[in-house]
Structures are given as C-alpha cells and as structure tokens.
C-alpha cells in the first residue's frame, strides 16, 4: 500500500486508510474537513510525517502493525498517529498525539512505557476515557500495536531533534532511541512481613505527598492548582468519587503513585519506601470508600 493517501486532503484519506468511520459521525466529519485550521494543521503534520514513517521498518506500509493500526486506531489517533483522526473532532477527550505526547500509564521510573504497559492500555482501553477495550485482538496483535505506537513516539523525537545543527544524524538516532527505551519496570512486591495498613500512617504520608493537590480529604481541592505538560491547568482527580483511569487495584495504584503519570502534574515518587507507597495505596483506597486493607479491585 502506498502512503500517497496521506497527502491530501487528509480528512477524506484518513477515512479510507482506516476503513472505519462511525456513520453517525460522517456529518460531523464533513464539517470537520471544512474547518480550515484543523485541516491545515492535519495536512501539514501529515506531509512532514511521510518520509519519517517510511524510513522505519516498524511503521512502513506492509508491516504487521501498519494494517492493525489503520484498522483499529487510525480513526481517532490519525493515520500517522498525530491524534488527528477523522473521529477525533467528535471526541470530548482529544486522542493522544503519539509523536509529541508522553504515554500516561507506565511502570517505570523514567516515564517511558514498557511493551506490557502499552499492551495493557490497548487491551483494556481507558476506563471512562473514550478509548475502547479491544478484547478480540490476539496477544501478538496487541504487541505489534504497542511496538507500532511507541515507534511514532521515537519518530517524534527524531523529528524534534533533527533541526539541531550540533547533532549528527547518529546522535539524533541514538537520543531518540534512548528516549523511548524504558528502564526496567518497578517490582511491585508484597509489603514487608511487619507491614500493617494504618489510616494514621497513611494519612500523615498523604498530607505530605498528595494533599497539596488532591486536597485534605481527597476531593481534588488542594491548595494548589497544578499545570500539565502543555501548561494547562488540570482538574485534579477527586479520589473519593472520580473513576481512577489507570485502575484502582492496589497494584495499579502502587504503580501510579510510585511512577507518576507522565504528561500530567502527577510526579513520580522515588524517595518513598515500598511500605510508604503501600500505606498510600491503602489510604487512597480508603478515601475511595474501600475498607482499609481490602485488596480486591
């Protein structure tokens, strides 16, 4: 398959490429194509993407990920992964631009997702986000997609670093690869034998490490109004009533608290001990209304 379909006009071609276009949204899409600025943006991005996409064996047409991606992801994330698919305009939450934005749910201390992290998001979707689960995909297909979307992220770094005169092409390749190569994932081990979940200990840690944004009682009304990576003020998660997007199981909460949520103001917590993170996990779950110490999601 050639990539000429990406060139222009992109809205129409995105639809062909993905082969998916929710009928209810066709009218909206037509309007979308007419919106000059959106179209211009999308076309500009796509024309810049083609050479880079073709340069990678992972994203080149004909790869396993290519067909899967176009069929399952492109409608929202865009044929070239910039978050500008035809259906994107109808969504409340903007789809991820894989080139320029970090992935949210990670199990590493450097904010880079492992293949398993991405596979989990692809498989399960985003809880109450607009990304659906894909239970019908085989494990191999999910892996191929994980590799495929991470490659967009690498190409994003190649693109951003390429204009830097002081870097050789080899430097650009090396740094871009480095920026998508995760550290070893953290080990979520069981708490130590003498660990007891304690509301008191949990609360005191929560006050020092979480409350200034999430609020004294977890309602998302802390003293500060933090900004995300794009400089936008975020609505801090109300832990008592909002869905926990990355999952509320103790293991998932452990990862969110320890590794942070890249792209959002939620930082990693390298300085806490494992037991301190566990105390925060159980205290947070208590704020969510789970009895202290209960471990099922």
């Amino acid at each position: 398959m050639s990539r000429n379909h990406l060139r222009s006009p992109c809205c129409e071609d995105d639809r062909k490429a993905s082969g998916r276009c929710a009928p209810r949204r066709v009218a909206l899409l037509a309007v979308g194509c007419g919106v000059m600025i959106v179209a211009l943006n999308a076309c500009l991005n796509d024309s810049q993407s083609i050479a880079l996409l073709d340069s990678s064996s992972i994203t080149a047409p004909g790869s396993r990920g290519y067909a899967l991606y176009q069929a399952n992801c492109a409608a929202c994330h865009g044929a070239s992964g910039r978050g500008n698919g035809v259906a994107a305009i109808a969504l409340k939450i903007r789809p991820r631009d894989f080139w320029n934005e970090p992935f949210r749910y990670v199990s590493t201390m450097d904010g880079i997702p492992t293949s398993d992290d991405l596979a989990q998001t692809i498989r399960s979707g985003r809880l109450l986000g607009e990304m659906p689960a894909s239970p019908w995909l085989s494990d191999e297909d999910v892996r191929a997609l994980a590799e495929y979307v991470l490659e967009f992220n690498r190409l994003g770094w190649v693109e951003r670093l390429s204009g830097d005169e002081s870097m050789s092409a080899a430097d650009v390749e090396e740094i871009a690869s480095d920026r998508v190569t995760p550290l070893e994932p953290i080990v979520v081990s069981m708490p130590s034998p003498d660990f007891r979940p304690s509301s008191e200990v949990g609360r005191s840690l929560y006050v020092q490490a979480c409350a200034s944004c999430h609020g004294p009682s977890g309602r998302g009304n802390g003293l500060n109004m933090p900004l995300d990576d794009r400089g936008r003020q975020v609505t801090v998660r109300d832990l008592t009533s909002d869905p926990i997007r990355g999952g509320a199981s103790p293991t998932e909460l452990f990862k969110r608290i320890r590794c942070g949520v890249p792209g959002t103001p939620m930082p990693a917590q390298p300085a806490l001990t494992d037991d301190q993170v566990w105390q925060l996990v159980f205290y947070t779950r208590q704020l969510m209304g789970r009895p202290l110490g209960q471990t099922n999601p």
Partner: protein, 260 residues
C-alpha cells in the same frame, strides 16, 4: 506556485532551524589534570535595554510557606550598572584542565534548593554524570520537572518530609526545570562536560580560574537572550578580560524554553 501549506511548512522548518542553530557541541572526552600555569578569565555581561519593573509575582496558592517572602521573576535581572545576572559563561570546547569540584563536598557540590517556593539558585551548573543535590527547605510537596531534550525527562516529587535527593544527567544540555504544583517556580540546570563554567552574579560579573593557556571560544548563554560567542586568548598567569554587551536587539521575544 507554493501552496499555503507548503509555505507554512517551509516557514516552520526555517524557524526551527534558526532556533536550533546554536546548541553547544557535544564534547564527551575531558581529562582532568593539574593546572599550574593557568590564566584567569574575568569579565561581565551587561544589558542596556529596557527592563520591566521588578514586582513580586502573584502566587496562586494558599500554602503559607509560599507567601513568607515576596517572589520575583528571575528571567531578566539587571543591576543599576547594567550588569546582567544569571548568564552562563562557558568555554565552548576544552578537553583537559582543572579537576571537577568534589560532588560530595557540601560547599562545592551543585545544589538546587526549593525554598520559599522558588528554586534557588535560579541557574545551577552540573557536570554530566555528577549528582545534583536537590533540597527541599520548605517542608511542603514540590516536584522537580525537567524539560530536557537530550536527557530523559524527570518529574519527581519531593514530599515535605524528604529533605534531600540526587539527580544525574547523562548528556550536556541546558535544561529548564519547573514545579507543576507551583507554576511560577523555574530554574535552569546546565549540564556540562568540563569545569570551566560560571554564572554571572548580581553585578553581571564572572570569573573562570586555572584555564590552561590557549585560544578558546567563550560562550555566553542567558534565557532571555540569544547565545553569543567570543574568541579569547588566555596567557599563563595572566588575566584576560571579556565583556559581553547586550542590547535590546539581542533580546529573545518569547524567551528561551528549550535551553538552546
């Protein structure tokens, strides 16, 4: 004829190229030796253009510790004699010379403190692969968020009870640092591969000591100005004076968020 899209693409490419043209060269091989006959480079960075009146920043938080002392922007600090503070002066390329300061010595180790809801100092120089000590004197949650390109990004929390933490960086780069919780907090971490760097003081003055005799390019970087380089010659046991005089025309419109 070019379409609007093509024109925009060209324009974007040109702008990006211009913005990236001045990054210092990567220089990984530095061998520390004893410098016995070195010279000194002294000088000042001045700016004679208009400067905004220094007013305290209105801080959007109810945390008391952030209201103890007024907080000022550090992006353009000019003394009465036009001395420009927080400019970074570095020898552009040097492969051998004096040893690095001891990273474990509390008096010389590079340190970034979070104090009164500001990063202090505003600019800190760290040799690559050396630890940068991060302190939290405030006793409230801060986060250290690095906006690096060459190095992996870090966004790490420093809860109130954690007083000290170490960060390391692999590659030379000038990195903007912010705190997402207190968005007015901003600092610059300058990762270098040799010890010949200085940050100008409140009078715009700087000094580099024990420089092996030779001819070098001396580089000036400041977040509000485009970078500047001057060729200088250092002679044994002599002082070489260098001035960087900046004017309104050198001012960057949007500031410099990429550290280039």
């Amino acid at each position: 004829m070019l379409s609007i899209t093509q024109l925009l693409a060209l324009l974007t490419t040109a702008l990006l190229a211009a913005a990236h043209a001045t990054q210092p060269k990567t220089n990984d091989g530095y061998t520390p030796t004893t410098v016995s006959n070195g010279g000194t480079i002294v000088g000042a960075v001045t700016y004679d253009g208009p400067t905004p009146e220094r007013r305290p920043i209105e801080v959007a938080t109810k945390e008391e510790v952030c209201h103890k002392d007024p907080i000022y922007s550090e992006t353009l600090v000019v003394s009465e004699d036009n001395g420009l503070r927080w400019a970074v002066i570095s020898i552009a390329e040097i492969n051998t010379g004096k040893p690095f300061p001891d990273p474990e010595n509390p008096d010389t180790r590079p340190t970034l403190d979070q104090k009164g809801c500001t990063f202090t100092p505003h600019v800190v120089v760290v040799p690559r692969q050396h630890p940068l000590t991060i302190l939290n004197s405030d006793g409230v949650l801060h986060n250290v968020h690095t906006w690096s390109r060459r190095n992996r990004a870090k966004n790490v929390a420093m809860p109130g009870m954690i007083e000290e933490m170490k960060l390391k960086f692999r590659r030379t780069e000038t990195i903007r640092v912010t705190c997402d919780i207190h968005p007015w907090m901003e600092a610059w971490i300058v990762i270098t591969d040799h010890p010949y760097n200085a940050v100008t003081d409140e009078n715009g003055a700087f000094k580099l000591t024990d420089v092996p005799p030779g001819t070098y390019m001396l580089r000036m970087w400041h977040e509000s100005f485009g970078p500047m380089e001057k060729e200088i010659t250092v002679r044994s046991n002599e002082e070489t004076r260098v001035e960087f005089a900046l004017s309104k025309a050198d001012r960057l419109k949007e500031g410099n968020k990429n550290g280039q």
